[in-house]
Each structure stands twice: as structure tokens, then as C-alpha cells.
């Protein structure tokens, strides 16, 4: 049982390594970064269940084949497929198959203090901000991020000047277009200057029935005294594989709120890494996951308290129907210097399907004594008494269940501050429940 694990490469790994071998050798910082990421992937390969952070999402078995890197998407098709959150008043930037589509994106009349470009443009122009790509390092090898760093060529680079208040949300629409399975890689960068505010939205979707793969990573540099809201809606096709990484470097007296909503993909994994390196910040990572059929969805977060006086709150809700599998892994680290930290993490799962599985792993790692930290995890079916109460009032079973599920998920969605977004997300949850009934 403790025999050495021999590095036999799976077909998917071999295909990815072959892809990485074709990386052009460019002698600059980004070129080196790509090569280093490629090398670390070649060495470590896809994670499997013996890799602690991926214990419940064994990519070696879940990702059987690696598909070729996607080509340029047809503009009309990308436009037709990008349906999510269209009703929300926001500046839309469309990223199709990992590349910004200028025809569908609104780069006009940018608010004062807002700089918005594609990553490809930024790299081509040699702008200084490109040096920030790969600047936030999660501290341990992450296969999804390594692949993204090596293979992503485009994405969005968004900068908000100090003190600028950007009222209108920026919505980055990630869409897959095409009729053959392919892989898309997108890398984005968000830099929020001191005292600025921003609402940043990401959505993910693609055509049903096509086993495409999406790997997205976004780095957020959250400056001092900023207010940043990040809302994320993942509704990939039920055959897709979705891997994403969100990295945050958080400054002093910052308000950072994220909400990740996951409903799609056959296999999905979202990793959030946050480093709190400025005092007195407040962060809230909330999320909801709705799963059915044989979907597998993993939310993993890692919050590193490095300085005193920060507050972190995490609330994740998972609803599991049919034979789906939900994973929540959350780790709060409180370093010795981070006295007066207040950390609270909660993961709740509601299991509707008899054969559904929920794996919870909330972790605390604490080296400072003057702290208040806690976590909770629950998992169970719908309370029979609540159901009975509703049914006694003439509400049919399915409807009663829907009401209770809606209330359950609603608690997490309610944390979204932006009215339009919140309503749109509630509508998404309702749509999911309706499809179930």
C-alpha cells in the first residue's frame, strides 16, 4: 500500500505534455514563467487522490483525454451562445475559446480611471502591468494553474485607478463555441487601486453535448481600502470539464466579497486562494452549488491570514440530486503574526438524491492565540418536519421541496450586494429547480 507511485502518464497527461513541448521558447519573463509551469506539470502530472488538495477530485481518472487547444471561435456563434446574465446591465467583454472577441466586447466610453484591454494586447505592447501575471503564487503546485500559466494566451486585463468608483459591473463572458471537443485557456488580471470600487462578473457557458474543457485563472490585486465584489456563474455544458483558479492578494482595510455559483459541467473544480497581507480587511467568500445527474463539483478555498485584525467569512451551500457528488474543502490558515483574526467558515449540504455523495473537509490551521476561528459542516436530507408542515398546507411534495431548497440556497445568494445580479442568480436557481420538478 505504501509502494512508490510510478509516474505512468495517462493518455490525457501525455497529450498535455506533448502540447506543452510545443511551447515556443521566448526569452522574457512570461516565456520563462510558461516554461517553468510546463516543466512542473511534466514533473507532477495531473493530480490524483493521493494529492491531498485533490483527494476528492481525482483528475487522473476524471479527465480521461486531453482535447486539442481550441481554435478561434466564429463571432456569430459565440454571440449566439453567450446567454448568461444578458439581462444584467453591465459592460460585457466576451472571451470565446480563451480569446477576447473585440466585435462582441464593449471597450468604448470607458469610465474615468478604468483601463480595460485584452491580455494579448498588453503582452504585445509590452506594458508593465504584464509583469503582474503569475505574481500571486499559491504556495504549492496546482496542476490546473500550471496548465493555465503555460497555455493561456489571452484574457482580460482590467485596471482601476486609485480612488475610481466603477458603478457599472464589468462582465467577462467566457463562452465556448465550436462543434468538436477542444480546450480553452484564459488568463485574466484585475488590479484595483487604492480606495477604488469595482464589481467584477465572470460567467461560463458552452454548447450542450460537447465535451469541451475550460481552464480559467484570474489574479486579483486588491489594493488598500478598496471595495471589490466578484460574482461568478458557472453553467458549462453537462459534458464539459471546468477548472478554474481565483487568486487574491488583499491589502489593508479592504472589503472583498465573492460569490461563486456553480451549476454546470460534468466535472468542475474551482480553487480560491486568498492571501490577506493588509490589516483590518474584511473578506467574505460565499458560494452555492446545484448538482444533478452524475455531476461532480469541487469548491476548494484557501485563506491565508498573514496580518492581524482581519475578518473572513465563508458560507457554501451545496444541493445534490441524483448521483451527483459535491466536494467542499476549505482551509483557514492563521499565521503567528495574525492576532485578532476572526474567521468563520460554514459548509452546508442538502442531499436530495439517494445516491449523491458529499465530501466536506473544512480545515483550520492556527498559529496565533488571540483569535476566534470556527468552522462548521453539515450534511443531510431535507427536514421531514418542514416538508410535512408545507404539505399539510396543501403544497405538493415537489413544490414543497423546491421551496425549501430555494430557501436553503437563498441564504447564500442573498449575500450578493448588486441587486440586478442577485435577482439574476435567484432566477438561475429557480430555473434549476423548475427543470427538476
Amino acid at each position: 500500500m505504501n509502494a512508490d507511485i510510478r509516474p505512468i502518464r495517462t493518455p490525457a497527461e501525455q497529450a498535455l505534455i506533448a502540447e506543452l513541448d510545443q511551447l515556443p521558447s521566448v526569452n522574457d519573463r512570461l516565456g520563462d514563467l510558461r516554461l517553468a509551469a510546463a516543466r512542473s506539470f511534466e514533473e507532477n502530472g495531473l493530480p490524483h487522490r493521493r494529492v491531498e488538495e485533490w483527494k476528492y477530485t481525482d483528475l487522473r481518472t476524471l479527465m480521461r483525454d486531453a482535447v486539442p487547444v481550441a481554435g478561434t471561435a466564429a463571432v456569430a456563434e459565440a454571440d449566439a451562445r453567450a446567454k448568461l446574465l444578458r439581462e444584467v446591465e453591465a459592460r460585457r467583454i466576451v472571451v470565446a475559446n480563451g480569446a477576447v472577441v473585440p466585435e462582441l466586447s464593449d471597450f468604448s466610453a470607458l469610465e474615468e480611471g478604468l483601463t480595460l484591454r485584452s491580455l494579448a494586447d498588453v503582452i504585445a505592447s509590452g506594458d508593465d502591468v504584464a509583469a503582474r501575471i503569475g505574481g500571486i503564487v499559491p504556495g504549492r503546485y496546482d496542476a490546473a494553474l500550471a496548465l493555465n500559466t503555460a497555455l493561456a494566451k489571452d484574457g482580460v486585463v482590467l485596471e482601476v485607478a486609485p480612488g475610481a468608483h466603477i458603478e457599472r459591473p464589468i462582465h467577462v463572458v467566457h463562452v465556448f463555441a465550436g462543434s468538436a471537443p477542444a480546450a480553452s485557456f484564459a488568463r485574466s488580471l484585475v488590479v484595483v487601486g487604492e480606495g477604488a470600487t469595482l464589481t467584477y462578473v465572470e460567467s461560463f457557458e458552452g454548447p450542450a453535448g460537447i465535451a469541451y474543457q475550460v481552464n480559467s485563472a484570474t489574479e486579483f490585486y486588491v489594493g488598500d481600502e478598496t471595495h471589490l465584489d466578484v460574482v461568478r456563474l458557472q453553467e458549462e455544458s453537462a459534458s464539459a470539464i471546468h477548472l478554474s483558479t481565483l487568486l487574491f492578494e488583499v491589502g489593508r482595510r479592504t472589503q472583498l466579497h465573492t460569490f461563486t455559483f456553480a451549476m454546470g459541467a460534468a466535472v468542475a473544480r474551482t480553487s480560491l486562494y486568498a492571501t490577506l497581507s493588509g490589516e483590518d480587511s474584511h473578506i467574505a467568500f460565499n458560494g452555492a452549488t446545484l448538482l444533478k445527474d452524475r455531476q461532480h463539483s469541487d469548491s476548494t478555498l484557501f485563506v491565508d491570514h498573514k496580518v492581524p485584525g482581519c475578518e473572513s467569512r465563508e458560507l457554501f451551500k451545496t444541493v445534490l440530486d441524483d448521483q451527483s457528488r459535491g466536494v467542499f474543502q476549505g482551509k483557514i490558515v492563521v499565521r503567528q503574526a495574525a492576532q485578532k483574526t476572526d474567521g468563520r467558515m460554514m459548509s452546508r449540504a442538502l442531499v436530495l438524491g439517494d445516491d449523491a455523495e458529499m465530501d466536506n473537509k473544512p480545515e483550520l490551521e492556527i498559529f496565533a492565540d488571540d483569535v476566534q476561528c470556527g468552522h462548521g459542516a453539515t450534511c443531510g436530507a431535507i427536514d421531514d418536519e418542514l416538508l410535512f408542515y408545507l404539505r399539510a398546507r396543501g403544497i405538493p411534495l415537489k413544490e414543497a421541496q423546491s421551496l425549501l431548497v430555494q430557501a436553503f440556497v437563498g441564504e447564500a445568494i442573498e449575500t450578493v450586494e448588486h441587486d440586478g445580479l442577485r435577482e439574476a442568480l435567484i432566477a438561475c436557481a429557480e430555473g434549476w429547480l423548475k427543470a427538476r420538478a
Partner: protein, 491 residues
């Protein structure tokens, strides 16, 4: 409350790194050659006069062990252990073997007396008159069991309580049937090592429908230098039986680290109940982190029958490193597993402990209460697994792990794994980490307690849920231990 008063007195009377069980008994002992080879295994087996099948069983384990790697997933750091630098067998030299308690080397008797463990039954009986209850003791000194008390009285009730080495000879069928059935030979690195070289330990069999008339207890003492202690305990409660078992451990103070790798297997058949309590107080090392016992223990209980129950209670105050996860396999329908733990670390101690509750049967329930207290430069980790199998409908678990940090150089960590594979399982987990509340300290001090007394009082309150689960004699002892372990952590 007198117990608290006692705690306070203990705190006053003992210095920071004074480990009161740290003395060494100067006694001639017989050791196996240093290092571990097939010869060592054969030597131990021959010493114990074991049948052929047992030797084969050990050799099989030894061969397996050679192919295994030491696990490294726990949050403990220690220099690599050189398994060839240890003695795997040490026994006090016998003068013809003791026939009765009076033949035991007086040095050993004195040692146990000093530890507060009466081996003479008449001493113990005197105890009854003065109000203390009777406890049958199996005393294990280094690699061998030196005395087992109340054997006859237990035999009258049909209870078998003897060193496992004797049981292998006298009840080979029972041993063959159950040994390795809960912790398989190949379970993990340390369990396999233990299977190869275990020298003694206790064997308990409680027959159908018998309620064991007294508490059973084993007292482990490591005495020799450079020795590892590898004991093996096997407890079987047949249908409807009940047994409560206590375990205590101490070792002398030494500069080098010593290895202790035990295996405990519990089997509860239908309607049986086993209550297993441990007060582990191996030498934790000095205040600079030098020396101490490496405690790598595999403990597992199997609720094999319906409605069976296994309850683990542990107070972990000693050892430089604790690596220990007493677990319950809830196989029988409506079986129940419980785990109550207090883990205290001070100085440079490292504790990585917790439990596994594996729900396999229908309507199985489990409860985990873990209290970790970290002080000094220590690290204290709770690591636990609760899982419900697809067929374990109606499984229920409640977990509560609280950690208390005293001082800003220690760490407290919680790593729970909660895996639910069916919709009717209901799992609840909660964990908190904090320091002693300033308000509570202030309140106590305002009423005239000094900071140490106040801390002792609050800590006692913090661990009360677990202490209540201990048998009475142990609870008092444990309470004292807690205050001693936290010695010097305040102010």
C-alpha cells in the same frame, strides 16, 4: 470543588519540566540484539514460546514491513527513525520466573508502587476497605507482562484477562480467530512493524452475556534505554457482554527519543459494549524538546454485531509525538461509536490525533468530542474522518472539536474529513479555536484567583465533557495531569 483545589495544588507544587514518573528502575534486563532482522522476530517468538503459526504470522508481517514506507501525512516533524538502532525486546531478567506476586523482583514491585499501581492483591483489597473500587491490573514492563492481578476472581466470571503471550499458548483458537481481524497485518507501517515484533500486551475475552465484574487495566512502563515498546492488545466482548478497560503509560526521562508503536484491537459482537479509556502520559521530553516518546499507535474497534457499542476516551498529555487515531468500524446495524478526547500539548510536543467513524450498518450513530489544548511551542492537530457508506442509511454523527491556545508560539489545527455517500445520513460538524477568554480570566481573578488558578479552572471547565466519560479513579488522575501538563504555560 475539591478536585479543582487539588489541581491548583498540583500546579503550585511542580516545576515546569518536572515529570514525576521520570525515574528509572535499575534492574538487570535481557535484551534482544540491537536492530531488526528476521532473527529478531524469531528470537522474540522463541522467547515467548510461541507456536509455529504465530511465528509465520510475524514473519509475514516483517517481510511486508520491509516493503513499506513510513507515512508522512501527519503534521509532525521528527528526524528519521533508525529502526536498526533500537532494541526490540527487553525484559527484566527472571530468576526462574515468578510463580506468585511475591516472586516478582521487588525492584519492579517498587516501581509500580511508586507509580501508584498496586500489584499485590492484598494491597488492592485494602483499598476496598478504604473505599476505592477494585481494578484488575496487567502490568507491562518494557517488553513483558510482569503481573496480572485478580486473575482467579475474573476466571470465576468466565472472563479471560491475561498477557497476550500467554493467551497465544492457552487460547490459540480465540487468538487466531480475532488477532489481526480489526487491524490487518498490512494496515499501516507502524501496525505492520508491531505485528512483526510485538512482545506482550493484554488479552481480554468476555463471554456471552457477562458483565465484567471489575474494571480491567493495563499499565505500560518503558524502562530500558533505546528500546521500543510494541504491545498488542486484543479485547473481545462476546454477545451481550460489557467490559471497561483502562490503560496508563509512563516512561523515564531520557535525552534520546524512544519509540512506542502499539496496536489495540477491539471486537464487539451483538449487543456488546466496550469502554476503552486511556491516560497516556509517556515522557514528553524536556522544556527544550529534547527526548520523549514517539507514540505511533493504531487503535481500532469493530462493532461487528448489531446494537454493539464501542467508546474510546483518551487523555493525551505525554509523548513528544502522538500519532493516534482510535477508530470505530460501525458494521452492525444500530451500532454506536463514541470518541472523547482531551489532547494537551506543551513544550515542543506534537500531537496529531483524532478518530475515524466508519458507518457501514443501518442506523448507526457516532459522537466525537475532542478538546485540544496547545501551550508552549507545541502543535496540536485534530484529524478525523466520518464516513457513511451507501448502505449506511440513517447514519448520524455529531462532531465537536474545540481547541484552546495558550501562548502565541503554539499551533492548533483541525483537519476533519466528512464523507457522506447516502442521502439519509445526517452529519454535523463544528469546530472552534480560541484563546482563554479575557472576560472569564478577569472574572476569576477579580474573585481572588491568581492567573494560574484561573486558567486551571477554565481549562477544567473546557474539558469537562470528556472528563465525565472517564471512570472515576481515572477522572481524578486525569484532572491532575491536565494541570501539570499546562504548568508554566501562563504568564
Amino acid at each position: 470543588m475539591p478536585a479543582v483545589q487539588e489541581t491548583v495544588e498540583q500546579v503550585r507544587s511542580i516545576d515546569v519540566d518536572q515529570y514525576k514518573y521520570g525515574f528509572f528502575t535499575d534492574i538487570e534486563s535481557e535484551k534482544a540484539a540491537k536492530g531488526l532482522t528476521e532473527e529478531t522476530v524469531r528470537f522474540i517468538s522463541a522467547k515467548k514460546d510461541e507456536p509455529e503459526w504465530m511465528l509465520e504470522w510475524r514473519l509475514e508481517a516483517f517481510r511486508r514491513w520491509q516493503t513499506m514506507r513510513e507515512p508522512d501525512w501527519a503534521r509532525v516533524n521528527y528526524p528519521p527513525i533508525d529502526y536498526q538502532e533500537l532494541y526490540y525486546y527487553a525484559a527484566p531478567k527472571k530468576k526462574d520466573g515468578p510463580k506468585s506476586i511475591d516472586d516478582i523482583d521487588p525492584e519492579i514491585l517498587a516501581t509500580y508502587e511508586k507509580l501508584g499501581i498496586p500489584l499485590r492483591e492484598r494491597d488492592a483489597l485494602l483499598g476496598i476497605e478504604s473505599g476505592a473500587s477494585r481494578v484488575a491490573v496487567d502490568a507491562v514492563f518494557d517488553s513483558v507482562s510482569v503481573a496480572t492481578t485478580f486473575k482467579e476472581e475474573l476466571a470465576k466470571a468466565g472472563v479471560i484477562f491475561m498477557p497476550i503471550s500467554e493467551a497465544i499458548r492457552e487460547y490459540p483458537e480465540l487468538v487466531k480467530k480475532y488477532l489481526g481481524s480489526v487491524v490487518p497485518v498490512t494496515d499501516n507501517f507502524f501496525a505492520t512493524l508491531n505485528s512483526a515484533v510485538f512482545s506482550d500486551g493484554s488479552f481480554v475475552y468476555v463471554p456471552k452475556g457477562v458483565r465484567c465484574p471489575m474494571e480491567l487495566s493495563t499499565y505500560f512502563r518503558i524502562n530500558e534505554r533505546n528500546t521500543g515498546q510494541f504491545e498488542r492488545t486484543l479485547i473481545i466482548a462476546d454477545e451481550g457482554a460489557y467490559v471497561s478497560y483502562l490503560e496508563g503509560c509512563t516512561a523515564p526521562m531520557r535525552d534520546e527519543n524512544q519509540l512506542h508503536a502499539a496496536v489495540v484491537e477491539l471486537v464487539a459482537l451483538a449487543d456488546a459494549e466496550i469502554k476503552y479509556s486511556t491516560v497516556q502520559n509517556w515522557y514528553p521530553g524536556d522544556s527544550q524538546g529534547k527526548g520523549g516518546i514517539y507514540n505511533f499507535v493504531t487503535k481500532r474497534g469493530d462493532c461487528r454485531g448489531d446494537r454493539s457499542k464501542i467508546s474510546w476516551t483518551q487523555v493525551e498529555t505525554g509523548s513528544a509525538i502522538t500519532w493516534k487515531y482510535p477508530s470505530c468500524i460501525l458494521r452492525g446495524d444500530e451500532s454506536r461509536g463514541e470518541f472523547y478526547s482531551i489532547a494537551i500539548s506543551n513544550g515542543y510536543q506534537q500531537v496529531d490525533s483524532g478518530t475515524k467513524m466508519i458507518h457501514l450498518g443501518k442506523n448507526t450513530t457516532s459522537r466525537i468530542i475532542s478538546k485540544g489544548i496547545a501551550a508552549g511551542h507545541s502543535d496540536n492537530t485534530y484529524r478525523g474522518l466520518v464516513s457513511a457508506h451507501r448502505k449506511a442509511t440513517g447514519a448520524r454523527n455529531f462532531t465537536n472539536c474545540d481547541s484552546l491556545l495558550i501562548g502565541d508560539k503554539c499551533g492548533a489545527h483541525t483537519v476533519p474529513y466528512i464523507e457522506s455517500k447516502n442521502s439519509s445520513a445526517q452529519f454535523e460538524h463544528e469546530a472552534t479555536t480560541s484563546k482563554i477568554s479575557e472576560d472569564q480570566l478577569f472574572y476569576c481573578q477579580q474573585r481572588g484567583l491568581d492567573p494560574e488558578e484561573a486558567t486551571a479552572l477554565i481549562v477544567n471547565g473546557f474539558v469537562k465533557d470528556v472528563l465525565q466519560q472517564l471512570p472515576m479513579e481515572f477522572a481524578v488522575e486525569a484532572q491532575k495531569l491536565i494541570s501539570v501538563s499546562l504548568e508554566g504555560s501562563v504568564g
